[in-house]
């Protein structure tokens, strides 16, 4: 078994006439945190939404090329999209707790997957909240609304909610863009801990965040990959001048 979990080959994504991703080639390795950086409109978020086929929901969405997850093309006709989205859990930039209790937010996915027994659900909720680094803060108020938590707590709730459905991959779309530094730090700690069990793709506008947590970093520009490599190399000695310019704040 190779250590490549996701292969992206010549992948392009169109919305109507607009091409958001252009001939992307990229590998994602198992149990790594792959950081994706790049200016706005470089196709980072579109790339994440291609991986779990959330782009399908957009009218006029169309793609070329292939994305192969654990040996299977996810755009093959016999792929169960709902199952795919469970395997690739996604955390959005804006935390969106469902309008229900903390407990129900986390139990949502498990219930959907058919878990009915209360003790099993309890165990899943606790385990997921612990992994998401939120358990200590909410253990005495699991029945209060998920929407009453602070922004950082909400984001960790969303992370825990993903973990409850036992995904293989975690996709994060600028998960800390609206958070204070301490909440950001807590999320990053959780990610480092989660790395040994999950493969994580982290899209971030904060290049320092990629430098802090990513094993490898990819630099996107105008819907294409400029370069990808070990984070230390990208940040100290990138091969491409555009990467260097972006990291030094010369454009973008």
């Amino acid at each position: 078994m190779s250590d490549i979990a996701i292969e992206i080959r010549g992948f392009s994504q169109y919305f109507g006439q607009v091409r958001k991703i252009n001939g992307l080639d990229l590998d994602v390795r198992r149990h790594e945190i792959l950081g994706i950086i790049g200016p706005a409109r470089s196709g980072k978020s579109t790339f994440l939404c291609a991986l779990n086929r959330l782009n399908d929901l957009v009218r006029g969405s169309r793609h070329e090329g292939a994305i192969v997850v654990e040996g299977r093309d996810i755009y093959a006709p016999d792929v169960d999209v709902v199952e795919l989205r469970r395997r690739l859990g996604m955390v959005f930039a804006t935390p969106v707790p469902l309008p229900r209790s903390i407990y129900e937010n986390v139990a949502f996915g498990a219930r959907r997957a058919g878990v009915r027994r209360r003790d099993e659900l309890d165990a899943i909720v606790r385990d997921s909240l612990e992994k998401g680094g939120l358990w200590e803060e909410v253990l005495d108020r699991l029945e209060s609304s998920g929407q009453k938590l602070s922004g950082g707590q909400q984001q960790r709730l969303c992370l825990a909610r993903i973990l409850a459905v036992k995904p293989e991959f975690i996709l994060l779309d600028e998960p800390t863009s609206g958070l204070d530094p301490i909440s950001t730090m807590k999320i990053e700690e959780s990610l480092r801990r989660l790395k040994k069990d999950y493969t994580i793709i982290l899209v971030t506008n904060n290049t320092k965040q990629a430098a802090r947590v990513a094993d490898r970093t990819a630099f996107f520009l105008n819907g294409g990959l400029v370069e990808v490599g070990p984070t230390a190399k990208i940040f100290t000695a990138p091969d491409d001048r555009r990467t260097d310019d972006y990291l030094r704040g010369r454009f973008g």
């Binding site: 989205r85 959005f92 309008p99 949502f108």
Partner: protein
Amino acid sequence: MAGPKKAGAGNRLERNDRLIRLALLVVAFSAVSVLLVITVFIVGQGTPIMFRYGFKSFLAGSDWYPSEKLFGLWPMIVGSLFVTAGALAIGVPFGLSCAIVLTEFASKRVRGLIKPVIELLAGIPSVVYGFMGVVILVPFIRRTFGGPGLSVLAASIILGVMILPTVISISVDALQAVPPSYREGSIALGATRWQTVKMVLFPAARSGIIASIILGMGRAVGETMATIMIAGNAAEIPRSLLAPVRTLTSNVALEMGYATGEHREALFATGVVLFVIIMVLNTIANATSAKRRKAP
């Protein structure tokens, strides 16, 4: 020199502001006062007779023979409740399903076609609904199920259709007001469209959906013309869905034209009962929706 001038302008603006605020207050209050006038008038005209004959004989009495001074409203109260419950049993499931299809599953083109048609449904005069009932539905029920045809069932079906536009358009608004991020979040968790509707959209839009049902209920309780035409109007407690029935509103509308003296007062008393029923229904519905909103 500039100082006092400015202050003068400020005072004038402030005075205008006060005047406008006062004018708006008067306008707003006049709307409320209409309700007040109606309440005082109906209660003033309707309650004396209730006191004279006793509340019990009025509300629980099952005989309505105004010429013999028997004013029992119980058959009409039961009639209104039956017909309203029937209308909700038909209109709410249809209306909510339709709202879900329109917001979640229909393509833009289908939605653009269906929504205006449903809104048109609200603009059809109730006498037309009644006419359709008399000409098509009543004979159909008579032929298929027996009985006079003019019945609880006929009234429930027609009223169920009449409340559809209310239920649908308000539920659609409520469902569309749910932030798209809830949908995305749920779908990204591996939920299907239907699970998303059931577990996320419904809870999120609950208060709006309950409001749509309350308003539909109000319309069904208050509808007069269509019920008169198709419910049969017999002032008896209906024994089955196929029996004719008279609602509170029908009672007033049918007899007000010729009623005098105590009979007339008794019709006002009918109005009082109708008023109270609607108030109670609204309060119950509001209370449940508020309680649910408070829960997680």
